[in-house]
């Protein structure tokens, strides 16, 4: 893994989402505002990442791996966050927070994989 700007920013946003979700689940029996906002931040980050990657494609380190795979991951991650938010809030309980935390962790794993695709190394 290369700790470039995208990876650092993504790791911070996703870690915050996971941490806030877990703490919220421990302390509160309803989906807390910070948990919802931190999940929203993950979605905003993914949108920014998408736009920036479109621009980065023309830059010094273009996409090496399969384009459809990178953009497929990004689209899936965007959809996954929305789906997780819907599923989490569908029943408002302590566990809503953990559903959102799980989404944050999943997005982090997907970001890691997206970076592998971008720099063109890792398993396929």
């Amino acid at each position: 893994m290369i700790w470039d700007g995208f990876m650092i920013a993504g790791a911070i946003v996703c870690a915050a989402c996971v941490l806030i979700g877990v703490v919220s689940a421990a302390l509160r029996s309803y989906p807390t505002d910070p948990a919802v906002i931190s999940l929203g931040a993950v979605e905003v980050f993914l949108l920014v990442h998408g736009v920036a990657s479109g621009i980065r494609q023309a830059g010094p380190q273009p996409l090496v791996g399969a384009g459809w795979e990178f953009w497929g991951y990004l689209a899936t991650a965007l959809l996954l966050v929305l789906l997780a938010g819907w599923w989490a809030i569908g029943e408002r309980s302590r566990w809503s927070n953990l559903v959102m935390a799980a989404a944050g962790f999943t997005v982090f794993v997907m970001l890691y994989r997206m970076q592998q695709v971008w720099i063109g190394q890792g398993w396929f």
Binding site: P31, V36, W95, V99, A102
Partner: protein
Amino acid sequence: MSESAPRDGRIAARVSDRKGAAAPEPGGRKNRGLGRVLVAVYGVFALSALARSVWQLFGVHQGEPIFPTAPVAILLSVLAAAVYIVATVALASRRRRSWNVALVAVLVELVGVVAVSVLSYAAPELFPKASVWSHFGQGYGYVPLVLPFVGLWWLLTHRPADAVVER
């Protein structure tokens, strides 16, 4: 400050005005509470296993189709994807019969992950490419090994309300 009314997150309450106390569900409460986390995790595995097996079935790497390089491992990935999809849908469903479907799916998953893991150590030549269930789900943080046990425990402790049984 009175604790009589349960507090709620402002955003969540505004987005969904359905209250938690809904109509009784014939399929039991297996998609409630912690069950929702379980469905979310199963859903993530269903999605990733499906994406992985479709890619391994039809994908091409450096001009060569991937499937012939590890047919057994890849077919087992397809099986895993199918089981995860059925388990996710059945766990989330409110129908009464979905409990039985979920139980069968989770049991197949349990047998599958143990059998495939043992096979991957006993006959590593069949697994030049890792499968979701090979090596006790090593590539997925061993979650595939733990998940069926959690699923089984959850299903057995959340049976559907059955009037005949409860009589």
